[in-house]
């Protein structure tokens, strides 16, 4: 039994943590939140120099050629820093989709640019409020031209290309669409967490190139979501851990009734429960990482439980963080709301826990697995 990351992987994580502590303190997140910048451009370039965007891209395509365990470690640190960069869109979604389904030519075209950070990819699935699902995709491609509207598209305002789910001749398929071409108009729309940007993207006869086989869209979407869910679980885990550490430190330093707030049992017991939620999230995320890096059949089940627990734990911890800070927790000046917003945003963008619970039951109801 060796259900842990290796020393080398932990070292990589430490390097990422140190780098982000220096280059992405929460003031960087706040700056993006408070200004019109869609993301922290310098940080994005720095991350690329560290090789993070290309972590799982093979060396022949300009990447670092690491595995998903290494990427998971980086994702945890990106989450811990609430790094305001389009990392998830470009790395967990676009890169994974191309690695899985791209032709050699597509890999040559996109992967080196993704690895260097020059290209930013995103994934465009949702079209309207409600649970976005391959069932309600109306965007359509005919004769290589895409029409339709995708909203919200995470980082759609800054991405250079998108992997778009649309109906095609053979049914639902995935397409690669460059976003700086004719027929694409996009606008930033207000994000619940303005440190991460959102866009509405309209396509009217935009050139679209098939990714994977025609009609393979539903399976590919599911596949990409499973992989992204595991990586996102690490991002959520890192953020939840930061949120928890801050809450512990605050409640120990804040005194009321002549004693630390952290000495009241009502607070201690909730902190103990929060720790349990966090540990469960960590354990399930590790399981997801194991399944992802070994391409296990269990990947979907592992992705579901990693995603569900990470989303619920981060949400729970962020809510308690605000509460346990008292009045200052409700101010713009304190950082609690950065976590509070990020938790909701991350729980929403990749299918809410309810969606993943359905997927989980679909998988286990007939498997007879325990």
């Amino acid at each position: 039994m060796n259900f842990d990351f290796s020393d080398d992987q932990k070292l990589l994580q430490k390097t990422a943590r140190d780098y982000l502590a220096e280059h992405s303190p929460l003031t960087v997140c706040r700056e993006v939140l408070e200004t019109d910048q869609p993301y922290a451009v310098e940080l994005w370039k720095g991350a690329a120099e560290m090789g993070w965007q290309g972590a799982v891209i093979p060396e022949e395509f300009g990447g670092a050629g690491f595995g998903h365990l290494e990427l998971a470690m980086i994702a945890e640190e990106v989450g811990r820093a609430l790094a305001p960069i389009p990392f998830s869109s470009s790395v967990y979604f676009a890169t994974e989709a191309i690695l899985k389904a791209g032709s050699d030519a597509q890999k040559k075209k996109y992967l080196p640019a993704l690895a260097s950070g020059e290209a930013i990819g995103t994934f465009a699935l949702a079209e309207k409020p409600g649970q976005s699902d391959v069932e309600n995709v109306e965007a359509r491609v005919s004769g290589g031209k895409l029409c339709g509207t995708k909203v919200p598209v995470p980082d759609g305002d800054v991405a250079t290309f998108a992997v778009v789910a649309a109906q095609g001749d053979g049914g639902l398929s995935l397409y690669l669409v460059d976003l700086d071409t004719e027929g694409v108009s996009r606008e930033s729309i207000t994000s619940f967490d303005p440190s991460r940007s959102m866009a509405r993207v309209e396509f009217s006869d935009a050139s679209a190139e098939l990714l994977g086989k025609p009609g393979e869209g539903a399976a590919l979407v599911s596949h990409v979501l499973d992989r992204a869910a595991v990586l996102m679980a690490f991002e959520q885990l890192g953020a939840a851990q930061a949120c928890f550490d801050d809450t512990i430190a605050f409640t120990q330093g804040r005194y009321a009734f002549g004693r630390p707030v952290a000495s009241f049992q009502a607070i201690k017991h909730r902190l103990a429960d929060m720790w349990c939620e966090l540990e469960l999230a960590r354990s399930n995320a590790y399981y997801g990482a194991w399944a992802l890096s070994n391409e296990e059949d269990e990947l979907t089940v592992a992705a579901c439980i990693a995603r569900i627990q990470a989303s619920e734990a981060f949400d729970d911890l962020a809510v308690e963080m605000v509460q346990m800070h008292g009045g200052v927790g409700y101010t713009w000046e304190y950082d609690c709301h950065l976590f509070y917003r990020r938790a909701k945003l991350l729980a929403a963008v990749l299918g809410t826990p309810a969606v993943w619970k359905h997927k989980l039951i679909d998988r286990i109801a007939d498997a007879g697995e325990d």
């Binding site: 103990a272 960590r282 070994n294 619970k357 286990i364 109801a365």
Partner: protein, 412 residues
């Protein structure tokens, strides 16, 4: 990262499996689950449990981590876990030795002298003698150090008076570990002494207590002028608390959160009952709940795997291990509650009259005990917050006061 055995672990597992194959039958899928439902007090079950323990001891597979001179095999913790995983795959009688092998034995091995080890350990290990834990009292459970039973020195003996309660298995045990107050004039933790008591001694009276599920797993035990030889004292006079802590640490390591029924059984139930004319498993609310249970149960299991990895690397698990019981018992209770409600009006039935033989009703009645025994949920939260998270200790009203002066109720 992998779930595989190291080559040495694999060899050990194969060896364990070979012995089990030769000495037991594999469990079958339709066997009743070996969980909180198993009965442990009838003479037949006790005899079967003893026979299996004896067989394991003869084969060198009992109390694996204990020294070889007392019948163990000086195995590592991870080997012990592997053995447990393998044994669980076979049809074996319910285990009545958990307290003896999980708590009493390790305490004597840590604090006992050589004569004491030689006298008690081999027969404890072989199952010939059964042990119980006489810690809790009517006025001392979570606050164990508040116990009031007394021991007074008289020549080569001690004379014990008082009452213990919730003593699991006392009605069929031969020996018990006992903590009593030997000095009420010092602070409460300082006045305790730890003994081993012969449960067949004159003056020991045992009365079974009926649980909410009508089982009689635990008892009241009354001590009236019971004489215990000084040779049966473990460690120094007044050092009982330190010894008791060893017992409690071992207790926490040995009680898991398991035993609350499987998601698989719940899914079978949800397929067999209907909501709005369709199998309940198709109902959205049902699916959401089952997925939540599954996520948490897997989370506990994966957390266990992280602990095992630490064991495998030779580390000792700490107070983090409290998570398994705290989260596991609660999920088990919620799951049983949910399964009963899934049965609709028929959820009001029990035993053979109910779905799946009434197993869920049975669990619902058994599980509250899991959340209380071996440290209540609240005590576990105290442990996690103080020992894992480093938060300030509870403020206490009994600190630095002689035991006899500590308030025991509202001022009159």
């Amino acid at each position: 990262m992998d779930f595989n055995d190291t080559p040495e672990e694999a060899t050990f597992r194969a060896e364990a499996r070979a012995w089990l194959d030769a000495n037991a039958e594999l469990r079958r899928p339709d066997d009743r689950p070996a969980d909180v439902l198993s009965e442990r007090t009838s003479p037949e079950i006790i005899a079967a449990s003893q026979a299996w323990q004896k067989k394991k001891a003869d084969g060198g597979w009992a109390c694996l981590t204990w020294p070889t001179e007392y019948g163990g095999r000086a195995a590592t913790s991870i080997q012990n876990v592997i053995w447990g995983q393998e044994e669980a795959r076979y049809r074996t009688p319910p285990n009545i030795f958990g307290i003896g092998t999980g708590m009493c034995g390790p305490t004597i091995l840590t604090h006992g002298n050589d004569d004491q080890k030689a006298k008690w350990i081999p027969k404890l290990l072989s199952g010939e003698e059964i042990w119980c834990q006489l810690f809790s009292e009517p006025s001392a459970g979570s606050d164990l150090a508040g116990l009031r039973s007394t021991a007074v020195r008289d020549g080569d003996d001690w004379v014990v008076n008082g009452q213990k309660i919730w003593t699991t298995g006392a009605q069929f045990c031969d020996w018990g570990i006992l903590v009593v107050r030997s000095d009420a004039n010092v602070a409460k933790h300082s006045g305790l002494t730890y003994f081993v008591v012969d449960m067949h001694s004159p003056g020991v009276e045992i009365r079974p207590i009926t649980q909410i599920n009508r089982g009689q797993g635990f008892n009241e035990v009354f001590f009236t002028d019971v004489r215990i030889p000084d040779a049966h004292r473990i460690s120094e006079v007044g050092n009982g608390w330190a010894v008791a802590i060893t017992t409690l640490m071992n207790e926490r390591a040995s009680i898991g959160g398991g035993g609350g029924g499987s998601v698989n059984d719940l899914i079978r139930l949800a397929k067999s009952v209907e909501i709005d004319g369709r199998p309940a498993i198709e109902d959205s609310a049902v699916r959401q709940q089952i997925a939540r249970f599954y996520t948490r149960i897997k989370g506990v299991k994966m957390t266990g795997n992280r602990t095992l990895s630490a064991l495998s690397q030779g580390k000792t698990p700490g107070p983090e291990a409290s998570l398994g019981k705290l989260v596991g018992a609660k999920v088990a209770q919620e799951m049983a509650s949910f399964a009963i409600e899934l049965q609709g009006a028929a959820g009001a039935l029990d035993r053979d009259a109910a779905a799946q033989g009434g197993d869920w009703q049975g669990r619902y009645l058994a599980i509250p005990g899991l959340r209380i025994a071996g440290g209540t949920d609240e005590i576990l939260r105290n442990i996690i917050s103080e020992r894992v998270l480093g938060l300030p200790p509870e403020s206490r009203a009994d600190k630095g006061i002689a035991f006899k002066d500590i308030p025991t109720g509202p001022p009159s």
